[in-house]
């Protein structure tokens, strides 16, 4: 009898011990999950499917693997940058590769990136390109800005206006959109090149920054850090991760940029002189392995985003609709999603996002979004090419 009882007892004890062992094993995971949840408040507004979509898409230029940047020349023809290093002139249905494009560092996210015309292109002919360049100090590449002119099918009068350094062989975060503001200043972004604890918060280093230059590459005398010892004088704002969408607000003239967060924490920011946007000290995102990157989302002296995405959509390309071709989208933001393969429409009220909608879901990785001079919206879709948004 005694033996039976003790056997029973030991069995129960074993079960308890077993359960405790299991529990101990699980506790860290619960803790991680809980803290991750606590750290990641989801976006205040969720993306919805459209109720009735009165627009459709049409492929205008096909067979371009990654149409990173797009510009329209005054004659209506297109200049398209293909990431691997080709500058394509698309005119009357024919693609021509422009000769004399600088050597690009086509690795990871690097390559031939954005293209932009000078606001007075008609008179001066300047074309601006951003690209990952292997030139300069160190092995690898880093973001560069060049201006040049188009003579026939060649890129001539080439001037490198800025080259971020040092080079690195890392694959991430080159930026790099180009925008001119109403005063003719040239803005461009350079991502933090995968070195987030080193670059974004240090204004004596390149990367993780938005820069401002005169159109000829000179540094404006009133840039915020011109008098700071050892600072990179071209820096306009810092604490960025990887801005791949940047526009001039068509009404206020402000520069608006969005940037990729890590896992969660993509942001839209209004870019202001000398401001610190916080990466990686503050972030709404976590690491890809679900570990915590930073405990805080706010800090004095660091800007809060106008909007943040959790979960990430991986934003690339940015436009504000102003044309009369899309009356129901007027003054809305459009953002490409590389992750979910759609275009996100964001409705703003007093600079707050009040509605989000998923357009053209399943179209493919949307690399670029722009409103062209003809008023139509054009997309760069990976694996396809240039796609136009047209009324049904």
């Amino acid at each position: 009898m005694l033996i039976i009882i003790s056997k029973k007892f030991s069995l129960t004890l074993e079960t308890i011990l077993y359960a405790m062992k299991k529990l101990i094993f699980i506790i860290p995971f619960i803790a991680i999950a809980l803290s991750a949840c606590a750290q990641q408040p989801e976006s205040s507004v969720k993306a919805e499917d459209p109720i009735a979509l009165t627009y459709t898409t049409e492929v205008i230029v096909s067979d371009i693997p990654i149409a990173w940047g797009l510009e329209f020349l005054p004659d209506g023809s297109m200049l398209i940058t293909e990431k691997a290093g080709e500058l394509i002139h698309f005119k009357n249905g024919v693609k021509t590769n422009i000769e004399g494009v600088p050597e690009v560092y086509n690795r990871g996210q690097g390559g031939l990136l954005d293209v932009k015309l000078h606001p007075d292109y008609k008179n001066n002919g300047w074309i601006y390109i951003s690209y990952a360049s292997p030139e300069g100090e160190g092995t690898g590449g880093n973001t560069a800005i060049m201006r040049a002119k188009l003579s026939g099918n060649s890129l001539t009068n080439q001037e490198v206006l800025y080259k971020a350094g040092p080079n690195t062989t890392r694959g991430q975060h080159f930026g790099s959109r180009i925008v001119f503001d109403n005063d003719g200043y040239l803005f461009f972004s350079a991502g933090e090149r995968g070195d987030h604890f080193v670059n974004p918060q240090d204004i004596t280093r390149d990367n993780g920054k938005i820069y401002r230059l005169y159109d000829d590459g000179r540094i404006p005398e009133d840039n915020p850090f011109v008098n700071t010892p050892n600072a990179k004088k071209a820096i306009y704002s810092y604490g960025h991760r990887n801005p791949q969408g940047m526009i001039k607000h068509p009404v206020t003239g402000e520069i608006w940029a969005h940037e990729h967060g890590p896992q969660g924490g993509d942001e839209i920011n209004i870019v202001q002189k000398g401001k610190n946007y916080g990466w990686p000290v503050i972030s709404y995102g976590i690491n890809y392995d679900n570990t915590i990157l930073t405990e805080i989302t706010e800090k004095e002296g660091m800007e809060q985003p106008l909007f943040y995405w959790v979960p990430s959509i991986a934003p690339s390309g940015f436009a504000m609709v102003t044309s009369d071709k899309y009356p129901d989208w007027k003054n809305n933001l459009l953002v490409g999603s590389l992750k979910f393969g759609y275009v996100e429409r964001l409705v703003l009220e007093n600079n707050k996002v009040v509605k989000r909608e998923k357009l053209f879901e399943g179209i493919g990785r949307v690399r670029n979004v722009m409103q062209a001079p003809d008023g139509f919206i054009y997309l760069g879709v990976e694996g396809k090419g240039i796609v136009k948004v047209i009324p049904n």
Partner: protein, 131 residues
């Protein structure tokens, strides 16, 4: 006789040990490459993203199509593929990796998240896969 067994044992042991060491080091380098170039789409545990980016963890495509997988990492991949019964038709961009980096990342992804690859991918094997 004892000496013979001893030598045989140590030879075998050393071979296995150095192979494992080579694999470990390759996987470690491959893990860095994965963090740098792959993780944004294929995610932290190789789970991918349903409908957009195929999984690498327990992926039949990766484990059964060794040469095609190396080719995809080396040159990029476009067009429809089927992974674990689901179709994917996205674009995986050319990443600009060296043959050594391709071998390292292959050794990492084919030996992680429940995958097991008994034959180490070598730089020579990668270099022999042509466009």
């Amino acid at each position: 006789m004892k000496l013979f067994w001893f030598i045989l044992f140590s030879l075998t042991f050393n071979t296995i040990y150095s192979q494992n060491k080579d694999l470990d080091e390759s996987m470690k380098r491959g893990s860095d490459i994965y963090q740098d170039f792959c993780i944004t789409c294929h995610m932290g545990n190789g789970e991918g993203l349903a409908g957009a980016f195929p999984p690498l963890a327990k992926s039949d495509y990766l484990m059964n199509h060794r040469a095609k997988s190396i080719h995809a990492i080396k040159y990029g991949l476009q067009g429809e593929i089927t992974v674990n019964g689901k179709k994917y038709n996205g674009l995986m961009a050319y990443q600009g990796l060296t043959d050594e980096e391709v071998a390292d990342v292959m050794n990492y992804i084919t030996n992680s998240w429940g995958n097991k690859n008994n034959m180490m991918v070598t730089v020579k094997e990668v270099s022999e896969i042509k466009k």
